[in-house]
Each structure stands twice: as C-alpha cells, then as structure tokens.
C-alpha cells in the first residue's frame, strides 16, 4: 500500500527526520488557514499516489493568499496522471542550497534491501543515474544484519561527502532504514532531501516522502494505517480487493477470470491478439464456490461485456467448487453472455460436468489458444 506524502512525512518526523511545517487541506478555505499559520510563501502539493507529480504540474508555490486561492482552485479536483486530487499538502517553502537523494528498496534478484544515495537529487534523478553514474552510490544490505551508521558513512564517502554533511546525511539515512524496516516497506525514499541555505534543525530537510508498505505485512504493522481498500480509486478494483482477488480494469469487452497471475497475463496476451480484454482478474490459490460466485458478480459489473473467458487449473484450487459458484451465478442472474471455460487438473471431469450443465462452453485441451479460438467463434469481431 502506498502512503501519501503527508503520511510519510508524519512518519519521518516520528523517526527523527527533519520535515517542513505542513498541513493537509481538502478545500481552499483549509489551505488558506494552514498557509496563514505557516506564513507565506508556501508550497502546495497535490496528494496523489504516483511518481512524476512535479513534472505533471502538481507542485506550485504561492507567494500570497490570492495566488494560493487560484492554485488551490485549479489543483483540487483536477487529475494528475489520471488520478483525482482530493487533498493538498500545504508546507513551508524551504530555502534550498542543493538537493540530495536517498532511497531504499527491495532488490528482487539479490533478495536484499538496496540503499541508493545521490548528491544530485530532484526530479531528474533517473536521468542522472543514466548520464552520471558517478553521482550515484548504492549498497546491498544483509537483511538479517541491518544497516548501521558506519555503513552509511562508508557509502556517502564514495560520493565525496565529508565532515558535517556526511554525518547529517548518514544520520537521516539510518533513520530512513528504520522506517523501511519497521513499516516493512517495498520502498522508502526521500527526494529531495534538501540542504538549507540557513541552518534548520542541523541543515537538512526531507521535503518529500515515498513509502510503499508490503500488503502481505499490513496486518502485523503495529501502527494505525489507513484501510488499503480506501486507497483504490477504481470501484471495480476496490471490490476486487475486498473479495480477495487481483482485478485490473481494462478498456475492452471480454471478461476474464483466471487462477494465477502468470496464466492471467498469458490469457490477456492471447485474447488481446484478436479481441479486447475487459479486465485482468486472478484468484490466487483461494478458490471456493463463494469466491468464483463473487468473481462473476465483479466481472459482470462492467457494462457492454460481450463474453466471459474462464481459465483455471486445479492444483491447489478446488476448481469443481469454483465451477459451482459460476453456475449458481449464471442461474440466479440469468446470464445470457457466452462463457468459455478451460479448466484442467484435479477434479477436472467433475468441473466440466458442472460447467456444461450451466450452459458454459467447456474446452478440455491445454492450449489457451484453442480455447480462445472457441471464444472467437462465439463472439466474432465487434
């Protein structure tokens, strides 16, 4: 689950990382009040859970209340990279000497946390990584050992830092690692970490935060966190999360239910050759009669659907139970759409029988391509 910038900055403050004075506004009136307390100029930052916000026009400075009203009016309820802006963060404008970068993420291949630092922070950090790799240093941590101040100092020395800036930077970096570790983050990042012209709590200030918490760890993080489902803007995707499946809303008109993400992606790819998938849906290993009933409910919520394609395997999943849920939904809701199901593995014969009895077109061969041929025969071109 991704956290909003202001939520991350609250956590940073709690962990002893210096952050600007800030408030969160859902209306221009609120924004004016907060800015009045902080004092102008202030920075207004759209709170959206996507990167590249600054370049997309989501960060503006207001020198006066009039300017604030204008900016706030434009930003609130606008969209940044397709996401609606419900909240603005209002914060003091830092007097910036230069911008640094620090981020910690999970490196998949090594299976280790990787700490990345740079003396050239800001919106162009990825460009810097390509063009001036010498401005970037990284360190792969031993996940059982942790990350210590001496390691932070050794890493920062490679960037040519020394003396007071080295120790200040190292201190913030170790605190960020603590955030990464205690919040079981997939990523924890400060970009930029600014060096102030005038001293401020020791000279550094985190003016932005990126934190994404591992969804599998949410239940054991001993701090109040928002409900994950509230974070999901798309109502169908939110419902998917509520019933315990991964659903992605796509533009097309062929509904898909699959067991397993890889199979689901392959199914989309194959269908996408000739037809347009309406969604991606994968159940994981938790199929029950009830779950597939709810999957049918979810997939058919999409208007203008032309057919449903089911691709499931009985390994860990009791697909015969799932088939009962699909057929119960078809009967209760008098579904007239053509439905093609390929179901193989444990209990396959029983599954086929249940599907056939419910009017589902059953494919008993392994290649998904052949099942999609059958689908294509039924729906043709648009």
């Amino acid at each position: 689950m991704k956290l909003y910038e202001y939520e991350g900055l609250d956590i940073f403050e709690e962990f002893g990382i210096p952050v600007p004075r800030l408030g969160v506004a859902e209306s221009t009136e609120d924004a004016l009040l907060i800015a009045g307390e902080i004092g102008y100029p202030v920075v207004l930052k759209a709170q959206v859970l996507v990167g590249g916000r600054g370049l997309a026009g989501g960060v503006k400075t207001a020198e006066t209340p009039e300017e604030l009203e204008e900016i706030s009016g434009t930003l609130l309820n606008s969209e940044i990279k397709g996401l609606p802006v419900h909240k603005l963060m209002v914060c003091e404008k830092a007097d910036i000497l230069n911008e640094l970068y620090m981020g910690i993420t999970v490196d998949g291949f090594s299976g280790k946390p990787v700490v990345v630092v740079s003396t050239e922070g800001g919106v162009n950090i990825e460009e810097t990584a390509r063009t001036s790799p010498d401005k970037i240093a990284s360190f792969y941590c031993d996940p059982a050992f942790g990350f210590y101040p001496y390691q932070a100092r050794m890493l920062l020395r490679r960037l040519g830092l020394s003396e007071r800036l080295l120790t200040l930077f190292a201190d913030v970096l170790v605190r960020l690692y603590r955030v990464f570790s205690q919040f079981e983050a997939l990523i924890a990042e400060i970009n930029p970490l600014v060096v102030l012209k005038t001293g401020y709590q020791g000279g550094l200030l985190a003016v932005d935060s990126v934190i994404e918490v591992d969804n599998s760890a949410l239940s054991r993080i001993k701090r109040p966190l928002p409900e994950l489902t509230e974070r999901i803007e798309n109502p169908l995707e939110r419902k998917g999360r509520e019933i315990g499946v991964t659903y992605v809303d796509l533009g097309g008109d062929i509904g898909i239910i699959s067991s397993g993400a890889g199979l689901g992606m392959a199914t989309m790819d194959i269908i996408g050759e000739r037809l347009r998938p309406a969604n991606f849906l994968e159940t994981g290993g938790g199929i029950t009669e009830e779950l597939l009933y709810k999957c049918m409910e979810l997939v058919t919520m999409k208007a203008d659907l032309r057919a449903i394609f089911i691709n499931i395997y009985g390994g860990i999943n009791p697909i015969h139970e799932g088939a009962r849920g699909v057929v119960r939904y078809i009967k209760e809701h008098k579904v007239k759409l053509p439905i093609v199901a390929k179901a193989l593995g444990n209990h396959q014969e029983e599954t086929w029988e249940i599907f056939r009895e419910g009017g589902v077109h059953v494919v008993t061969e392994a290649p998904t391509e052949k099942a999609v041929d059958r689908l294509y025969e039924l729906v043709g071109d648009e």
Binding site: L49, V50, G51, K81, L83, Y101, G103, I104, T105, V106, D107, G108, F109, G111, K112, V114, V116, I125, E126, A129, R130, I136, S138, D142, P143, A144, E184, L186, I187, N191, V210, E212, D214, N215, S216, A217, G260, A261, G262, L263, M265, A266, M268, D269, G272, P277, G285, I312, Y313, G314, G315, I316, L344, N346, Q348, A366, P367, T368, E369, K370
Partner: protein, 290 residues
C-alpha cells in the same frame, strides 16, 4: 538422476494437518512421492494418511530420516518454520504459501544461502519429476515423463506448458516452480544450471513474466556457455503499466523488466522466443524433441 527429487528423497509435510496440507499429502503419495511424515506443532502423535505427525522438524528427521520438506504453513509462521527446518539439517525446502511478507523472505533467503539449503518459492507449485514424485501442488495428470525441463515463475502457466507438451506426447524431465514473488529463494539461473548439468534433460523451457531481472540474468547464464537449447515465453505483453512511485528501483535496475527487454536479452543469448505458449510445439519439432 533427475534434478532435486530422486529415489533418495524422503519428504515431510509441514502443516500436514491443515485442510490443504492433508489433501495435498494424499495426492503426493498417490503420485508415488516418498512422503514419510509431517509436522504440525501441537499435533504430534496423530496421523494423517497413515503418516506420523511430529511436533518438531528435528523429531521428524530423527524418526523418519527425512531430507526434504514441503510447506503448507500459514504465511505468518513461515519464517519460524523455515529457520527450524534449516536448523534440523534439511537441505531441500519447498515453500508453497502465498502472501508471505517480503521482509521475511529476504531473511529466509539469506539463511538458506548461508546454510547451503536449496529452497523454492514462495508462492510456488513446487517441483514435479514425472513418474517419480512431486513436492507441492502440481496436478499430476498434466505431466508425462520425458526429457524437457520446465522452469516457471507462474504456477498455473507451468501446468499449461506441461499440458500442451504432454498432449502431444512430449514428456518432461522435471518441472520447477520458481515462485511468483518479487524475491524468490532460488533464482532462475541457478535452476537453469541444474538442468544444464542433468543427464536426463535435453532442452529447457523458461516461462517468465513481466517485471524483475530473473530472465535478464538467465540470458547472461545462457550466453556464458549453456549448451542445451532453451525456449522462453514471457507473459505480460499487454499488462497495463502500474502507477510507479519512487525512483530507487529504476536507478538500480535501469530499463530491465519489460517483456520486450527480456525477449531481446534471451534472443541475443541464443534462446528461442515463443510469442504464444502453443508455439512450444513448433520449437520442439524443430529441435527434434520428443
């Protein structure tokens, strides 16, 4: 001698008394796997499928001579169970459960590497050696004995490929589920290495997907002198781009992770690229694989 599972493999099932653990135990036995017992703390002394259940892995090893373990342990208990299993001296561990926190998996991986234990998963269907045995949840009916190795990041896609091949009487030497999580316990090149060295394998199929660097690293391995023919399929061509936050991943990985990038790396290394799973049959015919 097949990879990972052979005549000497004696398997215990951790979480054997659970609903999934017990039914999968029956299916592993029916497939011919030498399952010798199970572990569920607090249920020692009972039996499942006529197999003894123990309170600890240490006891199970002492009493049964087990040298391999398959996990059906709830995600929250996997870290503890894994350390216990490694400490009991078991060298092959299959971690089936999904939704295990990645910070746990990073620790587990480091512990396995430090103690020279081989582990697969998490979120893996396990491993199946057709006609010999299986550790995990792969449905035996889809597999047939033969000489093609399959490595898959996705569980159900490994069944798809095995099913397509088996229907045309092209058997498999072993099918290995790597696990679908961002961090896995054994990486793709390490499994490729096992197949390359295996006398019962003539060719290998890699079933990958969008994201991560596994396929790019596999391409490096192939380019560095792998002799057996390799075919690769990468799922996720039309997956919508996730709304990415932060830069650290992109800085470390550069442009790695796209389907195009993976296909290009593998093709350059000499692997055959399958645009769709069914093309595996053409590849098999062309390479004279039966």
């Amino acid at each position: 001698m097949s990879i990972l599972i052979d005549d000497q493999t004696r398997v215990i099932v951790q979480g054997i008394t659970g609903k999934i653990g017990s039914i999968q135990t029956r299916w592993m036995l029916e497939y011919g796997t030498k399952v010798v017992g199970g572990v569920t703390p607090g249920k020692g002394g009972s039996t499942v499928e006529d197999l003894p259940v123990f309170d600890s892995v240490e006891e199970a090893v002492e009493e049964t001579g087990a040298n391999a373990s398959v996990f059906f342990v709830p995600a929250a208990f996997v870290l503890d169970a894994f350390y216990e299993t490694v400490d009991a001296g078991i060298k092959l561990i299959v971690v089936v459960p999904e939704h295990i926190p990645v910070h746990d998996i990073m620790k587990i991986r480091a512990y396995a590497l430090a103690n020279e234990a081989m582990a697969l998963g998490p979120t893996t269907p396990g491993i199946l050696v057709p006609g010999k045995g299986k550790m995990g949840i792969m449905p035996g009916s889809l597999f047939a004995p033969g000489r093609v190795g399959i490595i898959s990041r996705s569980g159900t896609l490994s069944y798809e490929f095995a099913g397509i091949l088996s229907e045309k009487k092209i058997g498999q030497s072993a099918v290995v589920g790597m696990g679908a999580d961002p961090v896995v316990l054994t990486n793709l090149p390490d499994i490729l290495r096992l197949f390359e060295a295996d006398a019962e394998t003539d060719a290998v199929i890699i079933v990958g997907e969008v994201g991560g660097m596994q396929e790019e690293k596999a391409a490096d391995f192939i380019a560095n002198g792998m002799i057996k023919p390799v075919a690769a399929y990468i799922a996720g061509r039309i997956t919508p781009q996730g709304k990415r936050m932060g830069h650290a991943g992109a800085i470390v990985r550069g442009s790695a992770g796209t389907v195009e990038g993976k296909c290009e790396a593998l093709r350059t290394a000499g692997a055959a690229i399958l645009k769709s799973p069914i093309e595996v049959l053409d590849w098999a015919a062309k390479n004279d694989i039966h």
